[in-house]
């Protein structure tokens, strides 16, 4: 017989939907940055879509992170001391570096116009790639070290978190590319990381009872419907089957981003609903709560602004560059 609680006390989830937004944005940015580095350094492609995604998602990620701090004005405290034992502290350095470097890369790319990449830009691309790895590593590490959250504190969680970031990076790139009428570099990566996600998630589910509890009791729709079906299987199938259609590529990309979101939503909120000491009820983070809506609106708005900014930056610089070369 389970214990019946005659008196019990509620706790609330401490990481609000802002955390989901942040991890989605920065993960997607990092995924795209890796795609960019791979495309430029290995496949010698421009991969402008990936660049736009990397720079704008990175740019947009800062504020939601700040918003999840209840004392945003104190962000300077991160930099006034050192806490090398805290992965979050490392993150506080990686993030601005990543944002600045991707923006710089966008700047350099825009300024060079159609000219070939110089050594400096190649170097910066490598740095961006390396920082993207740091971002992926720190975000996954930060959460998976939390022993008190058994769903996060596994091998499966960081792996899937990273894989979905890559998938989402590829997916977002596919959206931008299709909007720009290009085929771009994302499809292959989406298919590969998507397939890997399925395998990793499957293995995880089989080996971790906490995840099955989460999936069964706390986030069944999000994890199975949203994440696995709509967010991984469908986009991969679309990406594999619809080589030619830009629209379908865009849709596939969008679903991949959604998959990454669904995974984060389910595992972040779901795990926080699972009590540490007793099966607590953490005052619902309902999907349509005011908090969630604000997060969605704020992050989406900010992302669009960033996209416009980065695109304009690259385009205007490119126009100026081409004028200069013409002159």
């Amino acid at each position: 017989m389970p214990a019946v609680d005659l008196m019990s006390f509620d706790h609330e989830a401490v990481w609000r939907p802002w955390a989901v937004a942040y991890f989605l944005l920065v993960g997607t940015g990092a995924g795209a940055a890796l795609l960019l580095a791979y495309a430029r350094l290995v496949r010698i492609a421009e991969a402008k879509g990936a660049l736009i995604v990397a720079a704008s998602f990175a740019l947009a990620s800062g504020l939601p992170l700040l918003a999840d701090l209840h004392q945003p004005a104190r962000f300077m405290h991160f930099y006034l001391g050192s806490a090398p034992g805290s992965i979050m502290w490392w993150g506080s350095w990686f993030l601005p570096l990543f944002i600045v470097s991707t923006l710089l890369l966008a700047f350099m790319t825009g300024r060079r116009g159609n000219a070939p990449m110089c050594g400096g830009e190649r170097m910066l691309t490598m740095i961006v790639g390396a920082l993207a790895l740091c971002i992926l590593g720190y975000t996954a590490g930060e959460m998976s070290v939390v022993a008190a959250r058994p769903v996060w504190n596994t091998l499966g969680f960081p792996v899937v978190l990273i894989l979905t970031a890559l998938m989402s990076g590829a997916g977002a790139t596919m959206i931008i590319d299709s909007l720009n009428g290009e085929k771009g570099e994302g499809r292959y990566m989406l298919v590969v990381t998507g397939a890997a996600t399925l395998v990793a998630f499957g293995l995880w589910m089989l080996t971790d009872t906490n995840l099955s509890t989460l999936a069964a009791d706390y986030a069944p729709v999000g994890l199975f419907g949203g994440f696995i079906i709509a967010g991984v299987v469908v986009p991969v199938v679309l990406a594999v089957s619809a080589k030619a259609s830009l629209l379908l590529r865009g849709v596939s990309g969008a679903l991949a981003v959604f998959g990454a979101l669904a995974f984060r939503w389910s595992t972040f909120n779901g795990a926080q609903l699972m009590s540490k000491t007793e099966t607590a009820f953490y005052g619902h983070e309902a999907a349509l709560s005011q908090d969630a809506l604000r997060t969605l609106a704020g992050s989406a708005g900010l992302l669009i602004l960033s996209l416009i900014f980065v695109t304009l930056l690259i385009n205007l610089l490119a126009v100026r560059a081409s004028k200069q070369t013409q002159a």
Binding site: P72, A73, I304
Partner: protein
């Protein structure tokens, strides 16, 4: 510059995106702004903690006071336990910061510190210095901590209010103090509804209120005053109502609190008038049996019993059992198998206990040596701490005119002195001869006949034989079937209880408030008699009493004054008056009609029945009231069935012309008032309280305003409250005992009574001088405790040799006898002297007013019944009414703490508990909404399915389901007093109560013998809501 379409699109998107981002991040922006511009909400590492009230030097124990705060000792009223508390106040704002226990008070500390401990030393004793504060800790319970929110509550009434529109409509206007006094005293066309008699006109001490029934008393009895319990202020209201105004209708809430228990003990302890009661000696008992009381979960005094239960569970060799349909925190898992919960069918404990008594009799497990002592003298010789009438002979023939009474020497022997005539008879244990109860043991069991002086022969039996006969009336199997407790369990309880000598104790209380209450309680407490534990260490104690306060004391007599009225007449609730003495009875006899049944039950040997007052005066049987005053009482919420019965009638001004309520809040009763008089909450009030029981040493707890009173002021600058209302009414009416020359001192000089302080400070002088004067307080101590705030009043009210001593008592929050005075050897130092009544003559000679049958004078098993003896189970058979509702006190609430934010935070609603098996049969799960239907009403709430409730029982936690105390909106003039619907969540089991169907005139269902209101074992069924 040309603007491209793409540019426009981008611009619009950007604008929209910016808008969304702005909305989304607004909160962050605010936080950011506050972070930069505002100061941090908390500094350092202690969060938002309060600055400590003092510091204690870890090396020396020296106390360093915080000059911004003060700590005063007064009395808590978070429930009726009236504990001593220490209240910490912020001097600048005057706000209460926190409250916890008073270390001088035995109700809050185990053991309490010696009374002469200096104030500062007491503080050290509470601190970490030498870890003194661990053993010396003095506590307040959860409610006691939370109650501080009362003082600043937005729901408080601070000015007199008069209703506008219909009674109960929630529309009021504020009126002046003078208007309040004038209108309530003089009456007139007060509401534009026609003339209303004022208090002056009603006070007629000569004219009978009903010439047909002169025994009802004078018209003045038509003022009915329903006051609070003995909260330390009661005697001021009593002085007004009984002694000055002269109504006999003034009594506390006992008839709906624990009258069954009190009457059961009273019958056993031979004092039906005062109704003393016993408490187990938790400190030394080895086996305790709680039947229908839940120490640690409720019980009086709640907190002390909780502390002592905790301590008992920490001792070796302690065992106890709790018989209760509901599993509560009286039982403790960590304590393991030595405390058992015995679920029982509601209302059937009488069967369980008579079964135990049967087994005890059959196996001769009773304390024969104790029982054989027929008098105090005999007990002394035998080394017993108490004695009983077990051996006294009773005339065992109900039809005999003296049936049920003791055989007295005067009945068998002629020409005796008056005293000798009264001596009860028994059989000498050695000689077997019929002889008066004296200093020698007597025969325990005997049934036979005796020849009386008039030559007739009557059957007689010893009290113990009669008890055994009652116990043997049913077999153990039958008892077991009636109560749902297995025979083995009954036997094991009886065996455990009789296995540790006198270190066993049984107690009961609220669980006996049902329609078999009296005999159930009498039976339970009788277990104590069978092991002879009264006054024994580890047994039971009647408590240590109090220092004299208002009664004639060494300095003043606050109960006597020139012109004091002696009240006369019949109680409006028909309590404490034999039906056979009424004119109505005699008329019926004269008319040759059967006088039985009475129109509604009368209870001859009980106390006044306050719980029936509203019902009976609105009905007009025995008579109508012209005015009702309630003070800090809430019968409409607290009495089972009351609201159903009165909620419409009470609005009828013809049935009740004037209704005044005195209360700091609007409750379910005062909502119907014509006037509400503001009153002090307990931190602001004056008075002297004591412990209900459970404290073996003398206790007098002081109430004095440790914070400023918030109510408005009278034109002459006194705070509006109960005291000053009664004083001003009395003065306007020129009643005796008020105004100049009202309070006699020990020398016969008269002192004035114009304000609360005049009365209560003088009572304080009695306390300070009773049994030897306390020392005088110096100025420093008064500053530490805040008594300096009342110093001017003390000085001007009291005599020069008094005031500093009274200050000494206020400094300590009362006067308390030292704990070392508890025991004398193996007995309690303060012992109860009267003999234990195995058979109670008064009970045994009284008649049921509905049937005319005599009651049984000793414990017996009678299932819950209506007044005419019809079994409740017969009228509401279990196949149609399968459940019996019980009410369990909430640990987190008392009836009056509704709307407390700290407590609401812990639990906002109750639920309707039912057993897992019952729930399965009805396909009910926890959280389902269900309706409980009783003979009178239906209530709905969430089901709570648990193992921890007996099959067939419905358990409802009391203190929820309020309709007032902040739950409902009121309008006072233009001001809206906003109600909060979440204050009224949950259910009140009293809504299921009903009137006795066998009574011609409405009477709430009650115990047929003593009339205690039946809030337990109410028949019900359950429907699942769609």
């Amino acid at each position: 510059m040309t603007i491209s379409r793409r540019g426009v699109l981008q611009g619009a998107t950007a604008l929209g995106a910016a808008g969304a981002a702005f909305w989304g991040f607004a909160e962050t922006g605010k936080n950011f702004y506050q972070g930069v511009m505002g100061t941090a909400q908390a500094k350092g590492i202690a969060g938002g903690a309060l600055p400590p009230e003092y510091k204690v030097d870890p090396a020396t124990g020296e106390v360093i006071l915080n000059p911004d705060q003060r700590v005063g000792y007064t009395m808590c009223m978070g429930c009726t336990s009236v504990c001593g508390i220490r209240v910490r106040v912020d001097k600048a704002s005057g706000d209460i910061l926190r409250a916890t226990g008073n270390p001088y008070s035995p109700l809050s500390t185990n053991p309490h510190i010696p009374y002469d401990t200096p104030i500062k030393e007491a503080i050290t004793g509470l601190s970490a210095y030498g870890e003194q504060g661990l053993a010396g800790r003095s506590t307040a319970c959860g409610r006691g901590n939370a109650a501080i929110a009362k003082q600043n509550s937005k729901e408080r009434i601070l000015k007199p209010m008069k209703r506008v529109g219909e009674r109960g409509s929630g529309q009021w206007k504020e009126i002046s103090w003078d208007q309040l006094i004038e209108e309530t005293v003089e009456g007139g066309d007060l509401f534009g509804e026609g003339p209303v008699e004022g208090l002056r006109a009603i006070r007629d001490l000569k004219t009978p209120l009903d010439p047909e029934n002169p025994e009802y008393g004078p018209k003045a009895n038509q003022l009915v005053v329903i006051p609070v319990f003995k909260n330390g202020r009661l005697m001021m209201a009593a002085r007004f109502a009984k002694m000055a105004y002269g109504t006999r209708n003034f009594v506390g809430h006992r008839s709906y609190c624990g009258l069954s228990m009190r009457a059961g003990y009273a019958a056993m302890l031979d004092n039906l008038k005062k109704q003393p009661h016993l408490k187990p000696d938790y400190r030394h008992a080895k086996y305790m049996l709680f039947i229908g009381t839940a120490p640690g979960n409720a019980g009086n005094p709640y907190k002390l019993q909780g502390t002592l239960m905790g301590a008992a569970r920490g001792r070796d060799g302690v065992k106890y059992a709790v018989v209760d349909p509901v599993l509560t925190n009286s039982q403790n898992h960590a304590f393991g198998k030595d405390n058992t919960w015995v679920p029982i069918r509601p209302g059937t404990d009488g069967a369980l206990v008579m079964g135990m008594i049967r087994w005890i009799m059959e196996n001769e497990r009773y304390d024969a040596k104790f029982l054989a002592q027929p008098s105090g003298a005999a007990a002394q010789t035998a080394g017993e701490a108490s004695w009983s009438n077990a051996t006294h002979l009773v005339i065992d023939d109900p039809e005999h005119p003296k049936g049920g009474s003791f055989l007295r020497q005067g009945m068998v022997t002629a020409d005796l002195e008056e005293d000798a005539q009264k001596a009860p008879m028994c059989l000498d244990a050695q000689t077997g001869e019929l002889s008066p109860a004296k200093g020698r043991p007597a025969t325990l069991f005997h049934q036979g006949t005796v020849r009386l002086l008039d030559g007739s022969t009557v059957p007689v039996a010893t009290s113990l034989s009669l008890l055994r006969r009652e116990a043997l009336r049913k077999t153990l199997a039958e008892y077991s079937a009636d109560c749902g407790v297995s025979e083995e369990r009954i036997i094991s309880l009886a065996r455990d209880f009789t296995s540790v000598g006198k270190q066993a104790a049984a107690d009961c209380h609220g669980g006996t408030m049902h329609a078999a209450g009296f005999y159930t309680a009498y039976a339970i407490v009788m277990l104590n008699a069978l092991v002879g534990n009264l006054n024994a260490k580890g047994g039971t104690t009647a408590g240590g009493g109090r220092f004299k306060d208002v009664q004639k004391g060494p300095r003043y007599n606050l109960l006597a004054f020139p012109g004091k009225v002696k009240v006369k007449g019949v109680d409006a609730g028909r309590g404490g008056f034999a039906y056979e003495k009424t004119s109505e009875f005699n008329r019926l006899i004269a008319d040759g009609k059967s006088p039985y049944p009475a129109q509604a039950p009368w209870h001859s040997f009980t106390q006044p029945m306050g719980a029936q007052w509203l019902t009976s005066v609105l009905e007009g049987y025995p008579y109508k009231a012209k005015a009702v005053i309630t003070w800090s009482s809430n019968p409409v919420y607290g009495v089972a069935g009351m609201e159903n019965d009165v909620k419409e009638k009470i609005k009828d001004t013809k049935r009740l012309p004037l209704f005044i309520a005195i209360d700091p809040f609007i409750n379910e009763t005062s909502r119907f008032a014509d006037y509400i008089v503001p009153d002090r909450v307990f931190y602001e009030a004056w008075g002297w309280a004591s412990a209900w029981g459970g404290v073996p040493t003398k206790v007098s707890t002081a109430r004095w305003p440790v914070v400023d009173c918030q109510t408005g002021k009278t034109p002459d600058g006194r705070h509006m409250d109960m005291d000053n209302f009664f004083i001003d009414v009395a003065k306007r009416m020129e009643l005796p005992g008020f105004g100049e020359k009202a309070i006699p001192d020990a020398d016969g000089n008269l002192h004035p009574l114009h304000r609360s302080e005049d009365f209560w400070m003088r009572a304080g002088a009695n306390v300070a001088f009773d049994g030897g004067a306390v020392p005088e307080s110096d100025d420093t101590d008064m500053t530490i405790t805040g008594v300096d705030r009342i110093r001017a009043d003390l000085e001007s009210t009291l005599k020069p040799d008094e005031w500093r001593r009274v200050a000494y008592v206020y400094n300590r929050g009362g006067r308390y006898e030292d704990a070392v005075k508890t025991y004398k050897g193996e007995t309690f130092a303060r012992s109860y002297k009267k003999g234990i009544q195995i058979w109670n003559e008064t009970v045994g000679m009284a008649r049921n007013s509905m049937t005319g049958k005599k009651f049984v004078g000793c414990p017996t098993w009678q299932a819950p019944s209506f007044a005419d003896g019809t079994k409740v189970d017969k009228a509401f058979p279990p196949d149609l009414w399968p459940f019996r509702v019980v009410s369990t006190k909430s640990q987190l609430r008392s009836s009056s703490t509704g709307g407390n934010p700290y407590l609401d935070d812990l639990k906002l609603s109750n639920a309707i508990a039912i057993n897992t098996v019952d729930a399965d049969q009805l396909s009910i799960k926890t959280g389902d909404w269900i309706t409980v239907i009783s003979p009178s009403n239906r209530i709905s709430g969430q089901a709570f399915v648990r193992h921890g409730i007996a099959r067939g029982a419905i358990g409802i936690e009391h203190g929820y389901g309020h309709r007032e105390l902040g739950a409902r909106t009121h309008k006072i003039g233009k001001v809206i007093l906003e109600g909060h619907s979440n204050r009224g969540l949950g259910t009140n089991s009293n809504d299921l109560g009903y009137t006795d169907p066998t009574s011609k005139r409405p009477a709430l269902l009650a115990d047929p013998v003593v009339g205690s209101i039946a809030r337990q074992a109410l028949p019900a069924r359950i429907e699942k809501m769609g």
